[in-house]
Symmetry: C2
Subunit: 134 residues, 2 copies
DNA sequence: TTAATAAAGGACAAAAATGTCTTTTATTTG
DNA sequence: CAAATAAAAGACATTTTTGTCCTTTATTAA
C-alpha cells in the first residue's frame, strides 16, 4: 500500500515503465507491486500494455484525478467517513463527543486529498528531490 | 484497541468494575480486553486492584489526562508525527508535496486529542446516550 | 490462615495483511 | 507465424495483528 504514488509520478511523460523498473526505483518488492498495480488498473486509475515494450502509464485525464481516488481504490473510503474513535454507533444523528470537531479535521483531510491531483503531486515531486525510495 | 474509552468512562465514580463487567457493557471479548487493560495500567493510565471486590479505576488526576495519552500508550505516536503518504523520507527539511498542508490537519487532530481529557469525554458520554456497545 | 476472587502474565491459536512464486494470457517484433 | 516479452491471475508462504486460554500472583474476607 505504501508504494502507490511512485507509479503515478513515474508512469507518465510518454514512457511506459515496467514493473521491474518501477520496483527498483521505489525500492519495493516487485511481485507485491504487481498486485497493487493490477488493482489500480482494474479501477481504471492506471493503464497497462502487455507484451514487449509494454508497461504502465497514466492517461492525461487520469492525471487529473485526485489522490483520494487512489486511496479509495486501495483501501476503501472509511478514512473519509469513519469515526475518530472507531465507534460504530457514532453518526450524525448519534454523535460521539468528538464527532463534530473531528468531522472538521476529517473533512479538511478529505478536501486536501480531493483537491490534489495525481498530476500536481507528480509535478511537485519532479520539481523537488524525487527521492521515492520509500 | 477499539474498546479503550469505555473503561475510562465506566471506571470512575468510586466503583471498581472488573473485567467481566466491563467486557459485557462494551461488548468486547473479555480476555482480549484484559491485555489492553494490562497495558494501560502499566502505563499508569488506569489503576487496578487484585482480589475480591477488586477491579479497575481511574484516579481523579488520571481523569485529567488527555485522550492522546491513551492512543500513545496503545499505538505509539506515529499518528501525531507520521507523513500522510507514509513516506519515510518526508520531514520538515525534506518535505513531501503534501507535508505542510497535512501537518496543519494533523496538528489540529493532535490538539483536539490533547485538549480533550478522559474526564471530559466521560462526562459527555454520561450526559448522552452512553451507548458504548462498540 | 485459608479459601475465594480477580488481575497479571505468558503460551498458544486464528485471522488478516503482506509478500513470493508459478502459470496463463495478451501483445509485439522479427 | 513463432519467439520473446511483460502484465494478469491465482496459489502459496510469511509476518503481524488480533483474539483465546491457562497458570501464577496478589488481595481480601471469613
Amino acid at each position: 500500500m505504501r508504494a502507490v504514488f511512485y507509479i503515478a509520478s513515474r508512469s507518465s511523460d510518454g514512457a511506459r515503465p515496467g514493473i521491474r523498473e518501477i520496483a527498483e526505483n521505489i525500492n519495493s518488492p516487485g511481485h507485491f507491486l504487481a498486485k497493487i498495480l493490477q488493482k489500480l488498473s482494474k479501477e481504471g486509475i492506471i493503464c497497462s500494455v502487455k507484451g514487449p515494450n509494454g508497461g504502465f502509464y497514466i492517461e492525461p485525464q487520469g492525471l487529473k484525478r485526485p489522490l483520494a481516488d487512489i486511496i479509495t481504490a486501495l483501501e476503501g473510503n472509511e478514512i473519509f467517513t469513519g469515526c475518530a474513535m472507531g465507534l460504530s454507533y457514532c453518526s450524525e444523528s448519534n454523535p460521539c463527543p468528538l464527532h463534530h470537531e473531528f468531522k472538521q479535521v476529517r473533512n479538511r483531510l478529505t478536501q486536501m486529498l480531493y483537491n490534489t491531483s495525481i498530476g500536481a503531486f507528480k509535478q511537485e515531486l519532479l520539481d523537488g528531490a524525487l527521492t521515492l525510495n520509500k
